[in-house]
């Protein structure tokens, strides 16, 4: 599986992209494969404050609902409404067009405590 080097990762299988002070979040290829067919996404609201490690939004398969956790604290700046009409984007393009939300971090240093690609791959290999 593919875990791009420029991203950071969480134990709960979110990926995090940093572009200056803008943070974009999605779920990893491993997570989309585990969930399989994504048929519904419940996005957060723009302007919501979120806290690192707390649930932010929900991704559902045919059978079950999965919480998505905030990788960093901050305020939601944008949400990917394309997922509302086409949730299957998460299965097809997890690191690209299927980002979930953008946030403005309250403490950008939290980025440094996230896992690198190599560290995340190690977590997957050890069995979750």
């Amino acid at each position: 599986m593919n875990y791009p080097n420029e991203l950071r990762y969480t134990k709960t299988h979110e990926w995090v992209r940093r572009d200056g002070n803008v943070i974009k979040v999605g779920i990893t290829e491993y997570a989309q494969h585990e969930i399989t067919d994504v048929v519904y996404v419940e996005l957060p609201h723009v302007g919501n404050s979120i806290e690192s490690g707390k649930p932010v939004c929900i991704v559902e398969s045919v059978k079950a609902a999965f919480d998505i956790y905030a990788p960093m604290s901050g305020v939601i700046k944008a949400i990917n409404t394309a997922l509302e009409s086409d949730p299957g984007l998460i299965n097809r393009d997890p690191y690209g067009s299927a980002w979930l939300f953008e946030l403005s971090p309250s403490n950008v240093e939290e980025w440094d405590s996230l896992m690198t690609s190599a560290q995340y791959e190690q977590v997957i290999k050890q069995g979750v």
Partner: protein, 373 residues
Amino acid sequence: MSDTIVHDEVTNLKKLPLHKEHERLGARIGAFGSWLVPIQYTSIIEEHQAVRHSVGIFDISHMGEFFVSGANARRLVNQWITNDIEKLWPGRILYSPVCRENGGTVDDVLVYEMAVDRYLIVVNASNVEKDFAWFGSHRSLDVVLQDKSPETGMLSVQGPLSKDLVEKVFSRNLAGLAYYHFQAFQTDLGEIILSETGYTGEKGYEIFCPIHQVVTLWQRFFEHGAPMGLKPIGFGARDTLRLEAKMCLYGHELTDDITPLEAGLSWAIGWGKEDFIGFEALKRQREAGLKHKLVGFEIVGRGIAREGCVLKVNEDAVGRVTSGTYSPTLKKNIGLGLIAVPYSQVGQNIDVEVRGNLHPAKIIQTPFYKRQK
């Protein structure tokens, strides 16, 4: 030869005889009652579509099989079930709820008339022990009651191509078989019971065989079925398929606290026969009128209803969801629920509360999916 069911060392759940085969096929294994079963092999949606458009095979060896025999068997079974055994003759199958005296549902079963003095009752896996004790303690007439579940394997082959495939596997013409009929015959694998039944809303067959032959039989289906695109189907798609066809799942639409009348199964109650467990309670309920009943709904916007979600009208709770899912055939989010009768008409607008948010929904005609014949 008697094979015993193996228990998983970690979970102590029972393993199907095909467990290793499911693992080899890459299945995601999960718990279903006291069993470890394949939830999905590739994707619930792909597996669902295979059954709707070509053919799929399910390992359902977890199901329970009881045999009741003796001169009194017919009379006694007819006291146990709500449906009327007078509809049966050798080679025919009857669907029926089994009720408590208060009308609550012990289980829903299939009754096969093997001979005028011998019946096979197929029960839900989760209810094997409960049902065996229930029937055992309601033996007002002398019969032999045997639990053959540990010795019996069961496969289900469902989909538009299922007839061709089953004919090939058994080198047998099935023109003489019809829906809810069965044939029992000897093969090199021992005695096979082949019935035209299923839990998907498609044409299909359920096949009983000696449990130590179920792996061989499964492999034979793939030898003949691979060119037709035969796919193994997990319990995830089994649930979405039965839900589209509005077939009840015990523990959801039927429970010890839900009567067959409330679940819309009045057609499976032998109102004319009177002498069965639960008759008085069901009759009283029919005369008094139902307070709530089972309906099908679709979510009008977005959101998936799940079991336990509250159904509301003008913010008042009027019911609850018994099963809900994304429907791969309709590409809509659908569900079944018990709702107060004044709100149970087709066309009624309701809200489904999911995680504190209200999602508009509408009561619609069921079944959600009906196969074109």
